[in-house]
Structure formats: structure tokens, C-alpha cells
């Protein structure tokens, strides 16, 4: 194997001025990605960032790798083509909740079910930022926005639930206020073979400021988030005094040592389970009853679309008598006139 140069963050900073609003959550995501890339063992020229339309979709311009700024909603389709055309590339999709959950919803579910080996970072700020503040498919019910002056009447999507419904093999959640965890999670996403979907709860400082505040603020975050790690107990709280137990088909948050619950009762996280029922329940957890799950919720290992595609080609090539176009056009029924 050829040596891979030891990159630093700077190798992945492009010469373009970053034009997001001051205070935008996108800056910390960009920094976390640029900090991740030197450590994933991929040559710079083998990285491709693909995006759709939206604030987040400007991302590829700011990373000094190959990049494609696509059209609204189509990042997953473009990225699929890039990956199939050259499966050696490490392909990263950068997309927002409007891009992926509304106009690109179809491509989103289909790339997940195919399990193409790409990384998919979903910036979820629950608003349309680039078009200045209209509600998105993830905006909470009832929220007033430019286009819902009396409150939305749309029931929102939860991206993780869609991903489970599409039988996605990898789903993780991160918050834009925790760069260290974000990097750990991006590393896991890069490692996973298959469509690695990471939902980043991201703040839009202009049009939806503090939308994730209940989850991310320093005072309550220990109680309102649970950082799940494969093989470890599902515990949370300032002093890790709380945990999750299964009560029938419902997850319940308990205080360890109270109401008869001991550490032995607390669930152990198995991100790699084939069955995604538990992952689905973890994905659904929401305030105020339950903490919001962050970290890798599901990372199930199975075949990828691109591996099967290459395998099928090599199998057919090894048995077929047709080796080139001359063979093909002269095969079957031909006539000498």
C-alpha cells in the first residue's frame, strides 16, 4: 500500500471565504469535518464532497478536496453516481433538512435502502435558512415562521425514523455545540461500510435561533442528552446517575438506585444489532420525558450496493464469452449477404 501523507486540518481548508452568518452552527461542523479528514486514512484526492442546495450545501466550496455543489435535493443521487463510477472514492454528502427531507426525500430513503457506501451529514436546523426563514419538514408543529404566520399545521419528520424505516444501516446524531463528540461520530461514520447518516442538530442563528437549546445548553445538556456508545450502559446525567430501561415496548428513564432500579437493569447499547427495533426506539426519544440520543445509534454491518455491483460485474466477466464489442456485435443471428 502506498503511504498516505500525514495531513493536518489546513490541508482541507480551501481558498474560498466562508460566507455563513456569524454564529452559524455550520462553522463548527466544517471545523469538525476538517479535523476528522486527516485521521480517516484517505488520500486527499480520493475525497469528494457532494451537496444540494441550502446554506449547508455551500460546504464543498470550503473543503479543499474534489467537490460538487449540485441542485436542490439531488445530492444523494449525484453522490450515488460518483460512488458507483469510482468505488474507491470516499464520498461525503452535505445536506440540510430542506434539501434531504423535502425536495430530496425520495433520494434520501433510496440511498439508505441501497446502502451505498457514502457518508451523509444532515444539517438539521428545522428551518429554511437560505430562502430566509420558511418552515421545513422538521419544523416542530405549531411553530410560527415566514410562511406559517399562525403556526405550522405540518406534522414534522424525524430524520432518524425515516432512516430506520428505510432500513438504513448507520444512524448517528450529533450536536453542533460539541465539536469533540462530533469528530468522534464522524470518525465512526467514515469507518462504517454503507450509508452512514449523521444528523447534526444545528443552530440557525438568524431564522431559528436556539431551536435545539433545550438539548444543547450547558446547564441541562447532561440531563437532556444521552451519548450512546456500542457495548456500554445507557447512562446519562451530570453524575451518570440516570439510565434507560425497557418497560414493555417503551424506553423509560430511571434514576439508578431509586425505585428498585440497579445498574444491572440499565440497557446496554448494541449498535450492531441486525434488528433495528431498539435503534428505532432510541431514535424516537425526545424531551421532556426522555433524553435525546446522540452518538452512534445504529451501525449494522452488511453488504453495500457498490460492493455487490462490482462483485456481479466480476462474476459475469469471469464466465462470459463476450469480452469486447467485436464479440458482441458478431454474436447470435448474423447473416452473410
Amino acid at each position: 500500500m502506498t503511504e498516505i501523507k500525514q495531513y493536518t486540518r489546513k490541508d482541507f481548508v480551501s481558498d474560498q471565504e466562508v460566507k455563513w452568518c456569524a454564529g452559524c452552527g455550520d462553522f463548527s461542523i466544517l471545523a469538525a469535518v476538517q479535523n476528522t479528514l486527516p485521521e480517516i486514512g484517505v488520500k486527499k484526492e480520493n475525497l469528494v464532497f457532494v451537496s444540494g442546495i441550502g446554506c449547508s450545501s455551500r460546504f464543498p466550496y470550503y473543503v479543499d478536496t474534489y467537490g460538487f455543489h449540485g441542485i436542490h435535493g439531488r445530492a444523494a443521487a449525484i453522490a450515488s453516481g460518483v460512488k458507483m463510477a469510482n468505488p474507491k472514492l470516499s464520498v461525503w454528502i452535505m445536506s440540510g433538512d430542506g434539501d434531504s427531507m423535502a425536495i430530496g426525500g425520495n433520494h434520501f430513503i433510496h440511498i439508505l435502502r441501497r446502502n451505498l457506501d457514502v457518508n451523509y451529514i444532515l444539517f438539521n436546523n428545522q428551518i429554511y435558512g437560505l430562502t430566509k426563514g420558511q418552515y421545513s419538514p422538521t419544523t416542530p408543529l405549531g411553530q410560527k415562521t415566514k410562511t406559517s404566520p399562525f403556526g405550522t399545521i405540518d406534522h414534522p419528520f424525524k430524520p432518524g425514523e425515516l432512516a430506520m424505516g428505510a432500513e438504513g444501516t448507520f444512524f448517528a446524531r450529533a450536536v453542533d455545540t460539541n465539536p469533540k463528540e462530533m469528530k468522534e461520530i464522524f470518525m465512526e461514520a467514515a469507518k462504517h461500510k454503507g450509508t452512514s447518516l449523521v444528523e447534526v442538530l444545528q443552530n440557525c442563528v438568524i431564522f431559528n435561533n436556539n431551536t435545539h437549546k433545550e438539548i444543547t445548553n450547558k446547564v441541562t445538556r447532561a440531563d437532556h442528552q444521552i451519548y450512546l456508545k456500542h457495548g456500554e450502559k445507557m447512562i446519562f446525567g451530570m453524575d451518570n446517575e440516570k439510565g434507560l430501561v425497557l418497560d414493555g415496548l417503551t424506553i423509560k428513564a430511571v434514576v439508578i438506585g431509586e425505585d428498585g432500579y440497579t445498574m444491572d437493569d440499565i440497557l446496554v447499547h448494541n449498535a450492531e444489532a441486525e434488528d433495528n427495533t431498539m435503534a428505532f426506539l432510541l431514535t424516537r426519544m425526545s424531551l421532556p420525558k426522555l433524553p435525546v440520543a446522540v452518538g452512534v445509534i445504529r451501525a449494522y454491518k452488511t453488504h453495500t450496493y457498490n460492493d455487490l455491483m462490482e462483485l456481479q460485474i466480476s462474476e459475469v466477466q469471469s464466465t462470459s464469452k463476450i469480452k469486447n464489442m467485436t464479440d458482441l456485435i458478431n454474436s447470435g443471428n448474423t447473416f452473410e449477404l
Binding site: P60, T65, I71, N106, Q317, S320, N333, F335
Partner: protein
């Protein structure tokens, strides 16, 4: 007693096979066609499917047809009216009677003409008895009972036996056309190689049909079609959609590029996707996407990553791809879009043919996004124009739209198998590693260089936003936008410099120039030739394959004629394109908007009318 077996030689003859969807008429037609090819006849075929997959049995909506035109003469179309109609039930006869030449031969399964069948076809009268068939030579063959009697001892059930009826017809026609029955036997043996008992049964029926024709005396005349002498070399009978797929693959081989197709099934283009998906042995990657939009966008992604990228579709799908074509255009990536036209608008007439997407392909995008448009003109030359479209796309770094249509895609004709070594080269301009790469730096033809991900040192970003000349970073500068718009348009216009000369048949100047484009070539040529033969007027005919940009010599051709008649299967889209591009000429129009191909007879009538009116 009539004289048996009066053999006559014919220059050309049209046979139409018609029956219920499940009657195997497409197979009989193909079998008849293959035998004609082996015997050296020139040929063209066209199937006529019902749009429902399983329309109710015995109904007119469920009639499936296959027309084949064979000849000692050169064959350019699948023929106007049939000389011989095979009708396996009353519905098939009812639907096709108007498509038979006066005095033509009609072969029927007389067993199927019964009250039950009339009811299914909603017919109030029996055509065999009401005088409708007066003037035709009618061959009433009890096909169903003959088949059942022939296979009585085999133990096959009657459903299976009835499925062999098409071979009775094949046998009968083998006699009618003085063909060696062995040709058909070989076809059956190879078709049913894995089911020898079925092959046996079909061969028995084939012989029964042949012997029946030999015995009865209604066939007072049989035909001989001598080999075509203008064609020599190695040929195959090829459908347009297959030829398109092969042309694309040939271009991949010639260019040395890996091939990627992103597509979504749509009538009548699906066969291209199906054909390409067979050829994994040639490293052909096909991706059946979740929709038309994903089809084209995945192809754009593959083009960015360095593959020869293609998407295939038909009218409504082309509409869905419009936005992405703008993206392919502004990123200046090579992409071949194959549009197999059908009748429109909207879902329209999915199984019928129309030259209806021309203006959509020229103008159907936001902003100024001129994309080269070319059109194939016969089932066989779909191969050449698919190849040409790819060469333009790759060498000029642009999306290209290739139009074929239902008539070409589903029709077939003889194709001279080329020598791959003789095919033109295709030379992509690919950036070397660490090339100080500027994505929008251009050569003398305004063509940019293609840098593939995976190549060291050429990292760059492209996208849908307007980009700065040369460097390619995002730019909103007004003057830069004007410059880029002009550079992109000039690049596309320069493609015309690479075309071959536009060919004009007949008189190179004179009274009337007949103009067509794409798939009307064959039928316009036949009508033009027949009219010219019987006229003193000076007439030329030219058919366009390169639609946009137009060939550089177009105006020089047009100015040599007093009148220009533009014939097309729409309300005048190519005529409008010519008016816009070359407004100095007057264009007369002849249009057919029935979602059916032109007929030679109607074109001749129009040409003669114009010539007489002068």
C-alpha cells in the same frame, strides 16, 4: 381446377401478423423476418403493441401486431399497407382490415370466427359473411382444430396446444413464400432448446401448416423474393433500441472510458436500459434509479467522476430531467441523454410514435443553456448516432440529447456489422495529475479539461452556480456572466464544424426541396424517389440528423430551391426551428399529428399537389 403453385417474383412485399396479445404474433413475425434475412432479403419491421399489457382477450384493444416489409429492392420503411394479413381472431381482422391493400391476401383462423369471439370483440357482424372481404384473397384455415388434431397423441393440454397456432401460420407462410421449412425448424429448435417436447410439438405444427398450404388450393399464387443485391457483407437484424445501446457501448470501448447508465424505466425507452444491463461482461454499469431525476443526476455524478455517463428516457422523463440538464450544461460535463420519443403531451400515447420533443430539447431549460441535439433516422443508424452523440459529448464536454422514437426504437432493420477498428476514435481531454488545474480554462474550441476525482493535485469544485472564467470559483460578477454565457454558447456552436456534409438526394438545386429530420428519413426517401421518377420537376430531398447546431451548409443548400417543404410528425417544430435559425427562407409545412408514422402514399400525394400547383 385452379393451377396450383403459380410462383411469382416480387420486388417487395408487406406482411402483417395480428392476433391476441398471447397468440405469439411477435414471435411469428420475428421468425419470418430472420428467415428473410438469412435468404438475403432487405427488410424493416415494426411491432404494434396494445398499450395494456394484458388487455381483455379477444378484444380490439388487445390486438397485437407485427408488420414486416421484405424485398429484393432496398427497404426503407416497414411499409404502408399490408399485402398479406394474418389475423388469428375476429378482433385482429377488424382492427387491421383497413391496413390491407385492395386485392391483398388475408389468412385467418376460421375456427376463431364464432359467436363467442364476436361478442368479445363487440362485433355485430361476421366479416366472413357480410361481404367485407370481397376483393381480397381469403385463406380460411381451421388453425385451432388442425393444431389440436395434430398434437392429439402428445398428451399436451389444449392450452399448450393452442399456443402453437403461430407455428401453423409460420409453416403456411413458408409455403406461401417458397421457403425451406428447415429455416423455421432451426429457429424453433434453438428457441426451445431447453424444452425439447415443446420444440417437437411446435415443429409438428409447423409442418402441419406447411402441408395444409400445400394441400388446399386456395393459395393459387406463391411468392419468391430474391435476395437484395445492393447489400453485401455481414449483417444482422437489429432493433433501434438495441442499436442505441450498442452504439453507446461501442463509444465506451473506443474512448477507453468506463460506462455508467442512470435510468428509470419508461415506455418506449426501457429496452435500452434492459439491453445495457445484460452486458456486465463489458464492465457496463447500469443503475435503475428511484426516478427520472435520480437517473440523470446519478449520471452527472458519474460524469464528474470520469465515466462515460448516459441517461435514457422518453418525453415526460425528459421534462423531469430538465433542471439537471442545466446543471450538466453549466458544469460542462459530458452526458448523453437518449430520448425515445412517444406521442404527447403528458402521458399522451406511450406506445405510439411522434417527433414531438424537439422544441422541448432545444428550449426546455431555465437560463441560456443550449445543448446539442441530434436524431437517428433508422433502427440500424441508432448505433451510429448514439456513437456520434457520445463523441460530441466527450470531445466537447457538454450534455447531448439524442432523439430516437418509438418507431425507430421498436422497429428493426438490417444492420451491417461494423469493424470496431474502423469506427472513429473518441478522445477525451483528461487532466494529468498535478496539472495546475483550472476547471474552466478552455482550448481553441472553448472546451475545458476533465479532471477526475482520484487524480492527485487537481482537487476542484464545480456546481450549478455561475463560475468565474478560468478558475471556476463562484462568481456573481455581471461581466463575467456575460462572458461565460457567450463562451458556453460559442463552444456548442463550434460543434457544427465537426459534422460531415449535409447530404442532398436527387437534384442539387431546383423547384422543391423536401426536408425531414430523424426517423422520417426512410419514408420520405421512398415517397421522394417515387414522385421524382414520374416528374419532370427538379426535386431534392435532405434529412437532418444534426438538429442543433444545424449543419454549417444548411443555408447554402436551402438557397438553391424555389420551395422548401418541411415534413414532420408534429405541428411544425423543426420548421419553427429553421425559421428561428435561418429566417431568410420561406418554409412550407406538411405535418401529421396522429402519433403514427408517415405513409408513402400520403407523402406522394402532398408532393404531387405542390408540384402541380406551381
Amino acid at each position: 381446377m385452379a393451377t396450383k403453385n403459380n410462383k411469382i417474383e416480387v420486388e417487395r412485399i408487406v406482411i402483417k401478423f395480428a392476433g391476441d396479445s398471447g397468440d405469439g404474433m411477435q414471435l411469428s413475425g420475428t421468425q419470418f423476418t430472420d428467415a428473410a434475412a438469412i435468404l438475403g432479403n432487405d427488410l424493416a419491421t415494426f411491432p404494434d403493441f396494445p398499450s395494456e399489457i394484458r388487455a381483455p382477450q379477444g378484444t380490439i384493444a388487445g390486438v397485437s401486431g407485427f408488420q414486416v416489409h421484405i424485398g429484393h429492392a432496398d427497404i426503407n420503411t416497414s411499409g404502408d399497407l399490408a399485402d398479406v394479413l394474418v389475423a388469428l381472431n375476429p378482433a385482429a381482422l377488424e382492427y387491421n382490415l383497413k391496413h390491407v391493400k385492395p386485392g391483398g391476401t388475408i389468412v385467418l383462423d376460421s375456427d376463431s370466427f364464432n359467436a363467442k369471439a364476436f361478442k368479445k370483440a363487440k362485433l355485430s357482424t361476421n366479416r366472413l359473411e357480410d361481404g367485407s372481404l370481397d376483393g381480397f384473397i381469403v385463406v380460411e384455415a381451421p388453425v385451432t382444430t388442425q393444431c389440436r388434431l395434430t398434437l392429439k397423441e402428445t398428451g399436451l393440454d389444449s392450452k399448450t396446444i393452442d399456443k402453437t397456432r403461430n407455428q401453423f401460420i409460420t409453416g403456411l407462410l413458408a409455403y406461401m413464400f417458397n421457403r425451406d421449412i428447415k429455416l423455421s425448424e432451426d429457429f424453433i429448435t434453438s428457441k426451445f432448446a431447453k424444452k425439447p417436447s415443446i420444440a417437437d410439438a411446435n415443429i409438428k405444427i409447423l409442418r402441419a401448416g406447411y402441408n395444409f398450404a400445400d394441400t388446399i388450393e386456395v393459395l393459387s399464387t406463391t411468392y419468391i423474393v430474391l435476395p437484395n443485391e445492393n447489400k453485401s457483407g455481414k449483417y444482422r437484424n437489429i432493433m433501434g433500441n438495441t442499436a442505441t445501446a450498442w452504439g453507446l457501448m461501442a463509444a465506451a470501448e473506443k474512448s477507453g472510458l468506463n460506462f455508467f447508465l442512470g435510468s428509470y424505466p419508461i415506455t418506449p425507452a426501457t429496452e435500452i436500459l434492459a439491453e445495457l444491463s445484460k452486458h456486465k461482461s463489458l464492465n457496463i454499469k447500469t443503475f435503475q434509479a428511484e426516478d427520472e431525476i435520480a437517473g440523470v443526476n446519478s449520471a452527472i455524478g458519474a460524469a464528474y467522476a470520469g465515466n462515460l455517463a448516459v441517461t435514457t428516457t422518453s418525453g415526460p422523463g425528459l421534462s423531469l430531467k430538465s433542471e439537471a440538464l442545466g446543471l450538466a450544461f453549466i458544469t460542462e460535463l459530458p452526458l448523453v441523454v437518449v430520448n425515445v420519443m412517444r406521442g404527447g403531451p403528458s402521458t399522451g400515447l406511450p406506445t405510439k410514435t411522434e417527433q414531438t420533443d424537439l422544441l422541448q430539447s432545444l428550449w426546455g431549460r431555465n437560463g441560456e443553456a443550449p445543448i446539442p441535439v441530434i436524431a437517428a433516422s433508422s433502427p440500424a443508424d441508432c448505433f451510429d448516432y448514439a456513437f456520434a452523440a457520445t463523441k460530441i459529448a466527450v470531445e466537447h464536454m457538454t450534455p447531448v440529447i439524442l432523439h430516437t422514437d418509438s418507431y425507430l426504437g421498436n422497429g428493426s432493420g438490417l444492420w451491417k456489422i461494423p469493424n470496431m477498428e474502423d469506427m472513429p476514435s473518441i478522445t477525451p481531454k483528461i487532466a494529468k495529475p498535478n496539472a495546475n488545474y483550472m476547471p474552466f480554462e478552455r482550448d481553441e474550441n472553448n472546451v475545458r479539461t476533465w479532471a477526475w476525482p482520484g487524480t492527485e493535485g487537481n482537487e476542484h469544485r464545480v456546481g450549478g452556480l455561475e463560475k468565474m472564467d478560468g478558475k471556476g470559483s463562484v462568481s456573481h460578477d455581471p461581466e463575467n456572466h456575460a462572458l461565460m454565457t457567450t463562451l458556453r454558447a460559442d463552444k456548442v456552436n463550434k460543434i457544427a464544424d465537426s459534422y460531415p456534409a449535409q447530404h442532398v438526394y436527387g437534384d442539387q438545386e431546383g423547384d422543391l426541396l423536401i426536408v425531414g429530420w430523424g426517423s422520417s428519413h426512410g419514408v420520405l426517401y421512398d415517397a421522394f424517389s417515387e414522385v421524382k421518377e414520374n416528374s419532370d420537376a427538379k426535386i431534392g430531398f435532405t434529412n437532418f440528423n444534426y438538429i442543433f447546431p444545424l449543419p454549417n451548409d444548411t443555408a447554402d443548400i436551402f438557397k438553391k430551391y424555389k420551395r422548401i417543404l418541411v415534413c414532420e410528425l408534429n405541428s411544425g417544430q423543426f420548421a419553427n426551428h429553421l425559421r428561428y435559425s435561418l429566417p431568410e427562407f420561406d418554409y412550407e409545412k406538411y405535418n401529421k399529428i396522429e402519433a403514427q408514422p408517415f405513409m408513402v402514399s400520403e407523402l406522394k400525394e402532398k408532393f404531387n399537389e405542390i408540384l402541380e400547383a406551381k
